[in-house]
Point group: D2
Chain length 136, copies 4
């Protein structure tokens, strides 16, 4: 991707750190969700505007690889890239970093759905724009 | 109250324990919510049946006092009593215990509301029964 | 207190909003914890510096009153005041607001403890400073 | 694997269900962690006994695939299998099911570490037993 990635700042909560002194694994999915929303907004798409327009996104696959950990007070952020856009799904790639290095890499596949319950649909121009994707 | 309290068993998650080695305070509100639902069910009222009937409960006040703490693997439970029933609200009292002693006492006031958005309402017989309360 | 309260901005997560479309009650305790940490830092006390100096704070009482709710995307914040300073404990007061009004008021009592496990102690000058309190 | 999988019952909390009426994705990692602990215990290894013996496990990879969702009150469980045992790591496979079908499949790789901070180590007999694995 030629563009700079969107970088989402993380404010790690005390409660997210477990007895081992590191952020418990599940909170990374909270971070990715926040970062995804920020990524869309960065490209001009408020999540609410997407659902108001009758579209939403659903997670169908996620994978995370840990090479390090975060602690409370870590100066951490998540860089987000669009890795792939298909007809009805897209893939985001995430690098979670502390001040010095990447501690988690992740990849998430979202399917675009209609909010009327009719299921998956072709990604509409509104959402493509929010992904910073080249139009069709 | 003459009756034995309802006792809700707690399965404490690893992730609920913080760097100090004790359950982080917010999770007690998760425990109380679980215990409240169990309390209603114990008296024959499934939460879903309540909302299907057009009623729900909203928290308007809660207070907690800590005299101890819980750790991962604690053999813990929550005893629940009905403390008060008013016209549109009721108060539950909770004792969170580990194997040996009470570690948190709590009190929560719920208001009965209609699910149609019309606001608070008189507690209906269905919910009174779920509280194990003497009929009006 | 003559001073302006410290105001902590809230970034509400999608996952904190429940089926009723409002922030589930327990997350308010996460918000208060974040706000408390920010309050200390606002007065020059990093939490880490406090524990490095051998002191910590423990929650012994909290109470919350709801008069409204927050939704995802709410422009919300928490104002924090010091309500009382005793010999070994202090009380913070919190107003959680959305763009228009206070939705939750809360009060929390913390006891100052030594990190060596010896229990509660007189609030040291370091922590008093972090509270913005008049020196003993 | 010839053995029956270990099945861990899930008690889904009201707070885990989001505005879309389904369990928010991050809670599945909480479920897997609970199920992993139950899996070890099922094979006679209490987590505490493992750490007391100087060993712990760290997540290095996880992946989840959603084909459905869970709601509050779902009669759900997680089946756990040992998929692979290496020298210092092992892989568990999870099927999260509601009453009728598998809604999420997941796979998680754990590395065995020493609690003294010296890093990864060969999986000791104690942990092999907890995995129900054939002795080396």
């Amino acid at each position: 991707m030629p563009d700079e990635p969107y970088v989402h700042h993380l404010a790690i909560r005390y409660l997210e750190v477990d007895q081992q002194g590191v952020v418990f694994n599940m909170w990374y999915l909270a971070y990715l969700d926040d970062a995804m929303t920020g990524f869309l907004r960065h490209h001009g798409l408020a999540y609410q505007a997407m659902t108001d327009a009758g579209f939403d996104v659903q997670l169908v696959h996620t994978e995370l690889d840990w090479s390090g950990s975060l602690g409370w007070g870590s100066d951490a952020n998540v860089a987000v890239w669009l890795e792939r856009v298909g007809r009805s799904s897209f893939t985001l790639r995430f690098d979670v970093r502390d001040a010095e290095q990447v501690v988690v890499t992740a990849k998430t596949v979202y399917v675009c759905v209609r909010t009327d319950g009719s299921g998956s649909c072709e990604i509409p121009p509104l959402v493509l724009a929010g992904l910073g994707a080249p139009a069709g």
